[in-house]
Amino acid sequence: MTITVKLFAILRDKAGVAELPLELPERATVATAVETLLARHPSLRPFANRIACAVNLSRVTGEAELKDQDELALLPPVSGG
């Protein structure tokens, strides 16, 4: 299956890309997707334990299962206001 990964703020700058497709085995978890992405973009690894994830605009934990066409957003700690 293929999901779309979106990167924001410092994560986008470090990876040099805002959005990318990611091929994953069926029923892969969010944690698997993140690990696959970190392997492809090692510059993101220093942020690994501070990244929050949202799938289709809902916050999720690493155990959440993904499905084809999902949009997975990787969010660094927010700093609005």
Binding site: A9, P77, V78, G80, G81
Partner: protein
């Protein structure tokens, strides 16, 4: 009942927001404006501006949830929550909360809760732009 919740790339319309939350049943309006504060980096360079980026689809949904939660807790008559994106000059507002309630204590409490919760959760990030044009993403854990 409709709240004015928006992520926008243009200067915050402060007067229009106050007008929006005005109501003849209100005993008070509390307004919070978060403004960009002057600073310098470790090299002594002054701050020139702040750049705000939002995950607009998620932030819009979060603003709706924030307004819903605030209405569960306080008797809010009218509510506006606006956040800027893009470049914001020093001293300019980047976020606006305006709340009207029947009595002033509720307006202050709701306004305080809204800005505190927004800052902790909203999918918005800011980058400090220094006088030499370089930028640094703000690390919230280093700036508490």
């Amino acid at each position: 009942m409709t709240d004015w919740l928006e992520i926008l790339a243009t200067p915050l319309p402060v007067a229009r927001a106050i007008e929006f939350v005005s109501a003849t049943t209100a005993g008070g309006i509390a307004i919070f404006l978060g403004t960009t504060r002057d600073d310098a980096n470790e090299k002594g360079q002054p701050l020139a501006a702040l750049d705000y980026e939002a995950y607009a689809d998620l932030a819009s949904r979060q603003l709706t949830e924030l307004a819903h939660d605030a209405r569960q807790r306080w008797p809010i008559l009218k509510l506006a929550v606006l956040h800027r994106t893009g470049r914001v000059a020093l001293g300019e507002p980047s976020v606006l909360i305006a709340v009207s309630t029947p009595h002033r204590a509720e307006a202050f409490e709701a306004c305080r809760w809204l800005i505190d919760t927004l800052k902790a959760d909203l999918a918005v990030w800011k980058k400090e732009i220094w006088s030499d044009g370089t930028g640094t993403w703000v690390d919230p854990h280093a700036h508490i």
